[in-house]
């Protein structure tokens, strides 16, 4: 027993000494380099096998340093470091199509290191297709072609069924009520900029509201968060008034900017509602924590409120406090629904094909996962199935 402890002790001292001096620090092995796949080029993958000194619990290796040169003879320059236990480094090189050579140093304590052999030459290049995204391409092709197919079908005069969306049916009534009461309409196009699809959907609905407001001679106010949205709203409203033959009734300043600040905007819109007591309020587009601040204020003044958003977290608030709420995709379907234009309706039908595929994939996944828990299907296969849908 005593002897054993003694031997262990000596071994430990030797190991520590070796670590300190670096005598026994061994270099990483089999250093190689190759082009990084699926990218725009200018990057190489440097790979190596761990230095035999790099073992768990051992402090001999603190990390690795990667060196690069234009020729096998050098000069080699450090380009980066990797952690202990790593066997891969992505190096961003200055040029495509040039040979680069690598060495990897195992770094020990106090500046000692052990350098590997030089790797063979490697060149980087850009790829013409990202093979990791074949699945996404397939999904896009299926969805786009089914949408295009139904757009074509609709154009050639086929009647397409679309279910009733209560919130959109009610747009006319809301505007009508405001007219009867002689009060204004407020329309909030959401809190994201024009680059968000929800905002575009909101502006499309505004077109319809503005058209009715123009026909009925009802005042319409649009407070905005982004000036680009403001400009778009102005274009749409102006066009609606022109079409209704009432260009003089159009007032540019009714569509105005407030602020990009979330609660500054919330305070301003609540203020407008409390002072002017509009009879109808529309919240269409992306909303966040201000959703209930708006909807409750609107409710307290007795306005008829129609909301529509694709922000799932805000849906409960709108549903609770508004008269009608367009849920998620209904917001995007609104322009097709309101315009009744066959080509737009066709695109909705195409969307349904996407839904069928999604549901089929989910059902199959659930089935496989259930079979796996019953021990009737290998776990790896289920994982492989799930990976079919992973887009990097």
């Amino acid at each position: 027993m005593k002897v054993k402890t003694g031997v262990l002790g000596i071994g430990l001292i030797l190991l520590l000494a070796a670590g300190a001096v670096g005598q026994w620090l061994l270099p990483p092995l089999e250093v190689g380099a190759k082009d990084a796949p699926n990218d725009a080029g200018k990057s190489l993958l440097v790979l190596w096998k761990l230095s035999p000194s790099d073992t768990k619990g051992d402090k001999a290796v603190e990390g690795y340093q990667i060196l690069r040169a234009r020729s096998a003879e050098g000069p080699f320059e450090p380009v980066g470091t990797a952690a202990k236990g790593d066997t891969l480094f992505t190096d961003h090189v200055p040029q495509n199509g040039t040979d680069y050579y690598y060495k990897v140093r195992a770094l020990g304590p106090e500046g000692v290191f052990a350098e590997s052999e030089t790797s063979g030459p490697a060149q980087s290049k850009a790829q013409w297709f990202n093979t990791e995204r074949v699945n996404a391409l397939l999904a896009v092709v299926i969805l786009v072609s089914s949408i295009l197919y139904f757009v074509y079908k609709a154009q050639s005069g086929r009647e397409l069924y679309i279910r009733k969306i209560a919130g959109l049916e009610e747009v006319d009534n809301a505007v009508g009520r405001a007219t009867e009461m002689g009060k204004k309409i407020v329309f909030c196009p959401g809190r994201l900029d024009m680059d968000n699809v929800q905002t575009i959907a909101a502006v499309l609905i505004l077109g319809r509201v503005a058209k009715l407001a123009a026909e009925y001679d009802t005042k319409l106010e649009v407070p905005n968060v982004y000036s680009m949205v403001m400009v778009s709203c102005r274009e749409v409203v102006k066009e609606a008034f022109l079409k209704a033959g009432k260009p003089d009734a159009y007032r540019e300043d009714d569509i105005h900017y407030i602020t990009q600040d979330q609660f500054g905007y919330a305070a301003a819109v609540d203020g407008i509602m409390m002072r002017d007591k509009p009879a109808a309020v529309f919240y269409q587009g992306a909303f966040f924590a201000e959703s209930l601040l708006f909807a409750e204020t609107g409710n307290s003044i007795g306005a008829i409120q129609i909301a529509g958003t694709a922000q799932p977290a805000q849906l409960p608030f709108f549903v609770v406090a508004c008269d009608y709420t367009l849920i998620g995709e209904e917001l995007f379907a609104a322009s097709a629904y309101l315009s009744k234009e066959p080509r737009l309706l066709g695109s909705l039908k195409g969307q349904d094909v996407g839904k069928v595929f999604t549901m089929a994939a989910i059902s199959l996944g659930v089935l496989l996962a259930t079979l796996q828990t019953l021990g009737l299907f290998p776990r790896e296969w289920v994982a492989a199935f799930a990976n079919l849908f992973l887009v990097r």
Binding site: N38, A40, Q127, W128, N130, R133, A136, L143, V144, V151, D193, V197, I200, A201, V203, L204, G207, Y226, S227, M228, M230, S232, R234, E235, V236, E239, D253, Y257, I258, T259, Q260, F263, G264, A266, G271, R275, A289, L292, L293, A295, E296, A310, P312, L315, V320, A321, I327, G328, E329, L331, F332, A333, R343, L344, S347, L348, Q351, G354, K355, T358
Partner: protein
């Protein structure tokens, strides 16, 4: 009319570039996306000026015409000037150190000790927090009004609402501590959140994703053009 055709053309081209770039990492698509992203940032930055000028114009107009509520417009103008002047011309509360340059300050206006920073923490931050905090009151009044057992579904909603509310605060487990282990109200709340709630969320989110794809496609193909202000 060119006013409609040009925006439609730009929408299509940029849309296609982003789609192609997703699949083809090679030049010229690779950097085109970066270029478009920079464009977006530059345009957004300039658009802020458009917004500020509009805000000032509308507010000044209201004051000039003494429209109803013009006092509020006065508050807007006053706050705008106060923060701008403090930010631009009185960068530091203390005396400015030797060799201090305004140009440098322009980059450092958010640093601690600047007057802008003071406004941020002692005016802006409490005001925003107050607005956000009113949510607590509105949630209460909305729940009071809406959570009524009017129908079977409404009753179901009401009950799951109770479970989640009790389950989200420690007092729930204290009040219902007599429930068997594993069936504590917080456990049931976790289940409601993680199973039926998640199922519904997923369905809504998948629908939204498909809606976004279809709307984007309509925009890229120029089928949807009413947002440009020129319906056909």
């Amino acid at each position: 009319m060119m006013r409609r055709e040009i925006p439609l053309f730009i929408t299509s081209v940029v849309g296609f570039i982003f789609v192609i770039r997703f699949f083809i990492p090679h030049e010229p698509f690779y950097s085109l996306e970066d270029v478009s992203s920079s464009w977006i940032q530059v345009i957004q930055a300039f658009a802020i000026w458009l917004g500020i000028l509009n805000l000032l114009k509308v507010s000044l107009d209201k004051i000039y015409k003494k429209e109803r509520g013009w006092g509020y417009s006065g508050v807007i103008i006053f706050s705008f000037l106060a923060i701008s002047i403090a930010g631009f011309f009185f960068p530091l509360w203390e005396e400015r150190p030797a060799g201090y340059s305004y140009l440098q300050h322009a980059r450092e206006f958010l640093k601690p000790g600047t007057s802008f920073d003071w406004f941020y923490w002692y005016v802006y931050s409490p005001l925003s927090s107050t607005m956000f905090a009113t949510l607590a009151f509105f949630i209460a009044s909305a729940s009071f009004r809406a959570f009524r057992a009017r129908s079977f579904q409404a009753t179901l909603l009401l009950l799951s609402g109770f479970v989640v509310m009790f389950g989200s605060v420690p007092v729930g487990n204290v009040l219902f501590g007599w429930l068997p282990a594993g069936w504590q109200v917080s456990d049931i709340a976790d289940w409601v959140r993680n199973v039926p709630q998640v199922a519904g969320q997923r369905a809504i989110q998948i629908g939204i994703a498909l809606g976004i794809i279809s709307t984007s496609l309509r925009l890229i193909l120029g089928l949807e053009r009413a947002h440009l202000g020129r319906e056909e």
